[in-house]
């Protein structure tokens, strides 16, 4: 059947199994929105109108983080696209599968500085996995097929498809390609057996190993495999900020999070290890601190589907390129064989004892100080009340670190945050995406007063669609992390980090028709939280917390892990 490009786009989405689209209309995408209103129901696609394009990208990202499915965003040309760039860069840094459709001026106007024209493929080249400008309507369906394939395979990432307005107007026979073969793109999923053998040999011999799990374990869904590997070899296991939940926090082998705000025992274990087994992590600077002193006595096993990640930051002794799930399966099989062949697992009793001693020496801590609400307590209460089972979407800053440290994620894909890019404003719209994707799960956005004010317009979105996101606002009237650094590293000079001039958030929510609660004292936290979480629909909960609380431990930027500040 002949149909216009706009309809072809939607039919293609249906073929890809897309059910939810986050978007914002504009001139260049009017044909698409026109087809959407005519055919959404039969196509089974629900469109969520956000209140700023960035939120459509964050929504799609939250959707992807909460499910592993490819998130879809649709925005218009020019400013629509440029507003989306932060969200695209975020997905790129955190390797989230996403396809972004942007409008473009008609092909005959491209390059003419037309109204709402921006070179979106040019602008996003360095923050997309790949991008396309569709110049012929017959390329439209194959391009969409390719975009979804590229976004969701290998190391996932955002793919942008730029759609000139005439491409959505022209008519052509629709047929969606069933298969795809991109000659220049063949991700290597199976690990080289020799490399796997050597890596397993090293694991058996290690006396002070640490298993170090990154976001790649989520991307590959390697949860069961990683757990088996840890248990079979009795490996102390730490997760990166992006890896949290890939290994249960309550597991006896769990060390919690490592890095800049990692536990003392965790960082000490990593730093004193003789073998660091990295699965889908990338030795980010927030993890390693000063590279030259990072685990200097350790050999490194590095499993990653992106070969360019291996030996990028630290020289790797045992590289294995491949999909985390498949490679760890290969490792488990190899392990069986080597054990059957008479190899023994080195004893780690004294290593576990040592780590336990470190943990006893300097556990995570915070202290009650009268009536004032301690933010850490809020997170602990959130964990208690939700039984650790909520989908928690965090914004960026101190509250993000407290949540990462204290919520204790036992379940995969329940922890959403902007780890790589650190984009303030992520938490709330990402929670919207998660709530759309997982309507049966409680979705909580833990946000600060800084980040929330970047995206509070999305209150209208949650109201419009009655999306039951619970916004837990940790309000200290500061850009907390900036203030902490200014206190610790800039002699208390609080330069432009004080944001105590702010709206009455309860009244604000009320004006959007969103239920709101507030607690200002420690003894109000529990029941306020419980009441709010049990209120149907979208809810805002404001916690007026201690203004100058710090996140500990902290490894100062550029310092070695061992030089972390504990209090």
């Amino acid at each position: 059947m002949k149909m216009r490009g706009a309809r072809i786009l939607l039919e293609s989405l249906r073929c890809e199994g897309v059910k939810h689209v986050f978007g914002y209309p504009g001139g260049a995408v009017l044909h698409i929105y026109d087809e959407l209103v005519k055919h959404a129901e039969e196509l089974g696609i629900t469109h969520y109108l956000v209140r700023h394009e960035q939120a459509s990208l964050f929504g799609a990202a939250g959707y992807a983080q909460a499910t592993g499915k490819t998130g879809v965003a649709l925005v218009t040309s020019g400013p629509g696209g440029t507003n989306a760039v932060t969200g695209i860069a975020n997905a790129f840094m955190d390797s989230l599968p996403m396809v972004v459709f942007t409008g473009q001026v008609p092909t005959h106007l491209i390059g003419n500085d037309a109204f709402q024209e921006a070179d979106l493929t040019g602008i996003t080249r360095s923050c997309t996995k790949h991008n396309y400008l569709v110049k012929h309507v017959e390329d439209l369906a194959p391009t969409i097929k390719e975009a979804f394939h590229v976004a969701s395979t290998g190391r996932p990432g955002p793919v942008l498809v730029d759609l000139p307005k005439d491409m959505t107007a022209q008519e052509i026979e629709f047929s969606y390609p069933e298969t795809i073969d991109i000659r220049s793109y063949k991700p290597q999923v199976y690990g080289d057996p020799k490399a796997v053998r050597k890596a397993v040999g090293a694991m058996l011999q290690a006396e002070r190993p640490v298993l170090y799990i990154g976001g790649g374990a989520h991307a590959a869904g390697a949860y069961e495999e990683v757990k088996q590997l840890a248990e079979k070899l009795n490996l102390p296991t730490t997760c990166t900020l992006m890896g949290l939940g890939a290994f249960p926090a309550s597991h006896p082998l769990s060390l919690g999070m490592l890095g800049m705000h990692g536990g003392y025992w965790t960082n000490m274990a990593v730093n004193n290890s003789d073998l660091l087994i990295s699965i889908g992590a990338r030795f980010d600077d927030r993890v390693t601190g000063k590279l030259s002193e990072f685990a200097s006595g350790a050999k490194f096993i590095h499993v990653d589907i992106d070969a360019s990640c291996i030996s990028k930051n630290v020289p790797c002794d045992y590289p294995v390129v491949g999909d985390a799930k498949i490679v760890v399966q290969q490792m488990l099989k190899e392990l069986e064989e080597q054990l059957a062949g008479g190899e023994k697992v080195a004893s780690k009793v004294s290593w576990h004892d040592q780590i336990a001693a470190w943990k006893k020496q300097h556990p995570l801590w915070w202290k009650e100080e009268g009536d004032v609400i301690k933010p850490q307590y809020v997170i602990e209460e959130l964990h208690r009340i939700t039984k650790g089972q909520a989908v928690v979407s965090s914004d960026v800053g101190q509250h993000q670190m407290w949540t990462a440290q204290l919520y204790g994620f036992d379940t995969p894909r329940n922890w959403l945050n902007s780890g790589g890019l650190g984009a303030m404003g992520y938490g709330f719209p990402a929670a919207v995406g998660a709530a759309v994707a997982r309507p049966n799960d409680l979705c909580v956005a833990v946000v600060g007063d800084g980040g929330f004010q970047m995206v509070l317009n999305e209150l209208a979105t949650v109201k419009q669609y009655n999306i039951p996101v619970k916004i837990l606002l940790i309000n200290n009237g500061f850009l907390g992390m900036v203030r902490q650094w200014q206190e610790q590293f800039y002699e208390h000079r609080y330069s432009h980090s004080n944001i105590e001039v702010q709206p009455d958030f309860v009244k604000l929510a009320d004006s959007y028709g969103v239920a709101a609660f507030r607690a200002t004292k420690m003894n109000e936290v529990s029941h306020t939280l419980e009441k709010a979480l049990n209120t149907p629909g979208p809810v805002l909960i404001e916690m007026k917390v201690a203004r100058e609380e710090n996140v500990f431990p902290i490894v100062p930027a550029g310092a070695a892990l061992k030089d972390m500040i504990l209090s």
Binding site: R125, V150, C316
Partner: protein
């Protein structure tokens, strides 16, 4: 160390910027760059020279390989190969001794005179970078008024084609490309 890197790419819109953009975004240097079609329609060969330590070169290879429409990446420097570039120069060639001197250099370097004027020549010469440099140095005292170089192109010697394919599915892949070089 200087490396000559050969990329086989889909000749799609924006391909050059994808490669060049990668280099600028990650702080690598492109010293020379050459792009031209291959026998296969829609596929181009990019030959570029760059410099850096082994770690940087390894990253350049891996990061370029990651560009979706790059079909193949080869570090020509570490495989037996032939490398050539072309230079065109306008040189002073006044009647008499100077003219003779230029012509004898043309002879020695197997260059060609491609344009003649009363007081200048345009010369064309191909060779590897060292030869081109030597030719230029010898012509400098005589007076070069204009110069254009293509930058090197390179071709693997046939018997060794298999050696270091980044996109090879050979099981030695990870060891060859990652272990030995790092």
């Amino acid at each position: 160390m200087r490396h000559t890197i050969s990329l086989l790419v889909e000749n799609e819109y924006g391909m050059l910027t994808r490669v060049a953009g990668l280099f600028s975004a990650r702080g690598y240097q492109i010293d020379t760059l050459n792009v031209a079609p291959t026998l296969e329609e829609g596929v181009s060969r990019m030959t570029l020279t760059t410099h850096g330590n082994d770690h940087v070169i390894q990253q350049i290879l891996q990061q370029s390989h990651k560009i979706i429409k790059v079909i193949d990446v080869v570090d020509m420097t570490i495989v037996p190969h032939v490398e050539r570039e072309m230079v065109m120069l306008t040189v002073n060639a006044q009647q008499g001794e100077q003219r003779q001197e230029v012509l004898s250099l043309v002879e020695i370097f197997r260059a060609k005179v491609v344009d003649v004027n009363t007081d200048s020549f345009i010369l064309e010469m191909t060779g590897n970078a060292e030869k081109v440099n030597a030719f230029i140095e010898l012509l400098k005292p005589i007076g070069i008024t204009d110069i254009v170089r293509t930058g090197p192109v390179a071709m693997t010697r046939v018997a060794h084609v298999k050696a270091q394919r980044l996109k090879d599915e050979d099981e030695e892949f990870s060891e060859l490309t990652l272990n030995e070089k790092v």
